[in-house]
């Protein structure tokens, strides 16, 4: 797709050249794991039952790493659309639209660059979680296949939410509107999922909704490989279901994005 790579490189150059943007993005995962790991650790109140509540994870940090990684991917991806509004308001969109590149490559460059930007955050978060006291443990080892599951889940979540918010942004001219929408849905998406808490810790109605949330599918897949290391066939079947659902949703949304954006992108 002509234009996709140069536009993605442009986004990454802008990211690297903005020290505040770059540093806050890299420091954020450390805060997340340290604060979330302490703030939400309700196993302190039920030390006897903690292993059951945490699906066999040795501690709460190990339990929530998958959820925090997914949520971080979700939050970064949601802001992919804001750059589209900046491009429209500051002028570059006019240049893109009068060139022969596909309209969709403008949007896909935002999606792709946000997916790439998430990767160093993933590494930092995993390392930080591992280094903090009573932190991340791999009780049953961690294989290259497990790494692939982790990375795939986050990439798919990033594709899903950056597609949704990029399409919304192509139909908006006001930055406040997109921030408003992001702020309205980010916390509900996080708390209506198994990112931070297992289903036993939730009200039944909430757990019912959470099982259909893509954030849950990603968090649960990562959690499964971190806690179990080498998976059994039935565990692989479960992870395959979650990742399959994420992949199907991501593919459908990317196709829909391409269709909608080619049809109409506002100048």
């Amino acid at each position: 797709m002509s234009g996709l790579w140069p536009l993605t490189v442009r986004e990454l150059k802008k990211w690297v050249r903005n020290p505040t943007f770059l540093l806050t993005g890299l420091i954020q995962p450390i805060f997340w794991i340290a604060l979330f790991g302490s703030a939400f650790d309700i196993t302190r109140f039920f030390p006897q039952a903690s292993s059951a509540i945490l699906d066999g994870a040795p501690n709460y940090i190990t339990y929530i790493v998958g959820g925090v990684l997914t949520t971080m991917g979700l939050f970064t991806a949601m802001f992919a659309g804001t750059q589209i509004i900046f491009d429209r308001r500051l002028g570059p969109m006019g240049r893109f639209l009068s060139s022969p590149i596909r309209r969709s490559s403008i949007v896909f460059s935002k999606i792709l660059s946000s997916v790439i930007r998430i990767m160093p955050q993933v590494v930092i978060l995993v390392v930080a979680a591992y280094l903090i006291p009573n932190g991340l443990e791999f009780p049953n080892g961690f294989t290259i296949l497990d790494v692939l599951v982790l990375v795939t889940a986050i990439i798919l979540v990033a594709f899903i939410f950056s597609s949704i918010f990029s399409v919304i942004a192509t139909r908006m001219t006001n930055m406040q509107s997109i921030f408003g929408i992001v702020n309205m849905v980010n916390l509900p998406l996080m708390f209506m999922s198994f990112a931070m808490f297992s289903s036993q810790m939730m009200a039944p109605w909430l757990a019912n909704i959470a099982q259909y949330n893509p954030v849950s599918w990603s968090a649960e897949s990562i959690r499964m490989v971190i806690i179990n290391g080498s998976l059994t066939a039935s565990q692989w079947g479960q992870v395959g279901e979650w990742l399959g659902a994420l992949a199907a949703l991501a593919a459908a949304l990317l196709l829909l994005t391409a269709y909608l954006v080619e049809k109409e992108i506002r100048d």
Partner: protein, 329 residues
């Protein structure tokens, strides 16, 4: 061959607002063609249709041999656009902006680097090429926009208000660049401008547009001649002589323009001036001052649109100032 040909090109917004009304234009290859008109005349809508940013409601346009609705990607490959607003990314350097745009057109890297260097040299931006665009002055940004539009060596270049908001010195410099580009690259240039002296200086032919229609087309000289009225200003040594000039030959209209002074309107000063000088010597009149005033494009504009373009400029200067402010934020 024609670079651009439009047939009854029409754009209607919201079912009733006719921005462009059955517009017919024929632009030859290699010429600089000016489009002049008041705000809301339909210039930018016309350009936006020709560069395939928006689709026409009806009518057709062929740009570089391609239909703008059926072959929009081919049209975009062929044309260069220098929009009124800044489009360069200010977080990239001038050179990075150019190289990025060259990739949009699949220009091979080595070729793009070569073209980039020669264009930067052409507009004297070599030294600033590797600085972030945010550090550029307004004039430097305009020069950069001009050459970004040329990085893929287009056959047709659309220049929308290329010197809006620039000081007089920088504007004259930009004119020289545009002339140089046109002669060196043999590119067809479609120029819209509020500065009629700019169109007069650069354009081989010009169309005055209002209410989405072409009011008149011709060379700037033809348009000025079409007004049929040069002015000869004459100051004599006494009022008696000034009064006598009211019977001067070829005079269409003679009005008093001050003490001992008259303003004589003639069809062509070139033809009438010798006769008037003879008339003065025959009557042994003594002249203090004699000047000839040819009509400007401003007067042509006023004649055909009923409005002075100066009334339009205030609004555009404000718009430019807002763009500059926005770009700096």
């Amino acid at each position: 061959m024609k670079a651009i040909e439009t047939k009854n090109l029409t754009k209607i917004y919201g079912g009733h607002l006719k921005a462009v009304d059955a517009l017919n234009l024929t632009i030859d290859e290699g010429e600089i063609y000016g489009l002049a008109g008041p705000n809301g005349a339909g210039k930018t809508t016309t350009i936006n249709m020709l560069v395939t940013r928006i689709t026409p409601t009806s009518g057709t346009a062929i740009v570089g041999g391609f239909d703008i609705t059926k072959n929009s990607i081919d049209v975009r490959r062929l044309i260069g656009v220098v929009p009124q607003d800044f489009t360069a990314d200010e977080d990239l350097t001038g050179r990075e902006n150019m190289m990025m745009v060259s990739q949009f057109y699949d220009v091979p890297k080595a070729k793009a680097q070569e073209t980039c260097n020669s264009l930067l040299k052409l507009v004297n931006l070599e030294e600033a090429a590797d600085r972030l665009v945010r550090t550029y002055s307004g004039g430097m940004r305009k020069r950069l926009e001009l050459i970004i539009g040329l990085i893929h060596e287009p056959k047709i270049l659309f220049l929308d208000e290329p010197t809006l908001g620039l000081d007089v010195q920088t504007r004259t410099q930009m004119w020289n660049y545009v002339k140089e580009i046109q002669s060196r690259l043999n590119v067809t240039i479609i120029l819209t401008s509020h500065y009629l002296e700019e169109i007069d200086e650069l354009a081989g032919r010009v169309s005055i547009i209002d209410h989405g229609k072409v009011l008149i087309t011709g060379t700037p000289a033809e348009l000025k001649e079409s007004l049929k009225g040069d002015i000869i200003n004459l100051t004599l040594s006494d009022q008696k002589g000034a009064d006598l000039m009211k019977t001067a030959p070829d005079a269409l209209e003679v009005t008093d323009s001050g003490p001992n002074a008259v303003r004589i309107k003639v069809i062509s000063a070139d033809e009438s001036l010798p006769k008037i000088i003879n008339f003065i010597s025959q009557h042994e009149l003594s002249t203090v001052k004699l000047t000839v005033q040819k009509p400007t494009l401003d007067e042509v504009f006023l004649e055909y649109t009923g409005r002075s373009i100066r009334d339009e400029e205030g609004e555009d200067t404000r718009k430019m100032a807002m763009n500059m402010r926005r770009a700096r934020q």
